[in-house]
Subunit: 204 residues, 2 copies
Amino acid sequence: MVGETLATSLAGLGHDVMMGSREAGNGKAKAWAAGAGGKNGTFADAARHGEIVFNCTLGSAALAVIRLAGSRNLAGKILVDVTNPLDFSTGTPPSLSIVNTDSLGEAIQRELPRTKVVKTLNTVNCNVMVDPRRVAGKHSLFICGNDAGAKTAVRELLEAFGWEDIIDLGDITSARATEQLMPIWIRLWGLLGTADFNFAIVRN
Amino acid sequence: MVGETLATSLAGLGHDVMMGSREAGNGKAKAWAAGAGGKNGTFADAARHGEIVFNCTLGSAALAVIRLAGSRNLAGKILVDVTNPLDFSTGTPPSLSIVNTDSLGEAIQRELPRTKVVKTLNTVNCNVMVDPRRVAGKHSLFICGNDAGAKTAVRELLEAFGWEDIIDLGDITSARATEQLMPIWIRLWGLLGTADFNFAIVRN
């Protein structure tokens, strides 16, 4: 769902988008490609295709998918990581499988040392990701990663989605800070009965 | 610092405040009491004195202080827990010593089964706690705990400080969600160079 929402929006903005799946003939990816004028293929195909690659997988599958995509296919490229390490095995609400002194963003960066991992968008629902104006008023998005140039390139994509208050938290270790917003996000989601909300950092 | 700021503000609002310390003759507590027209004593004295007791201790000391205060002295009362389980032993930024599937708020509630623990104020600097208007614009404060009546009583105190958008996240397990805001709070503090900021939950 997250991948489809982002892919549709990026295709609509004129980008040449390929959706990767575990299998080349994945029916949903094929249907998406046909409908949105995009392409589809394996995770490795998509990794080879993209200059900027979005990781929109389930947190518990993220590292396995990264390995299927292939570190060689992602070398020198930007990987935008929008995942959260949600662990549903401990019941509801989910806990985090990587937390506190590590994060999924860092684990992915360790797995892909030649790739510029940028963590962002993981603190909002996918509809808000591509259309921040769904939530009225000023609200904030976080970005972090080790490569300044990669963050600038991703910031441009985010601005094309309509994001205005994009806060650079620093290097990829800041993924700990944004992934740990999930517990409150999930409780607020239950409380508000909608995913159309967001955090704002209010400052003078 | 947190205790003094809250105590001064509560005394100014007309409350009969006693500041507890490890030792009855603590110089800083004595000086505070003389200056603010309050009282001072041991943690046990303060627990006996208060109808609503604020736990403003260092996270790493919180449970030890609660034991010094005495569960019997706190039975039937409201304990407002404003602490965070920050662990500076792992370097800077600090990690959390209790996290993910547990929280310091829950640990304190388990230690004090006959006390109504209300977790709140732990997501803002102490100056903002007692004067939310230091941060311009609408921003949010979280509250959680198992006892609805206790939350209502604490909400009235928070409103007296000037808080308007107070979000009840549910029972004390929601302390996990607010304590896990510390990692991003600390990074934002470094980034903004001031503690005069806060989270807002922006919704339609």
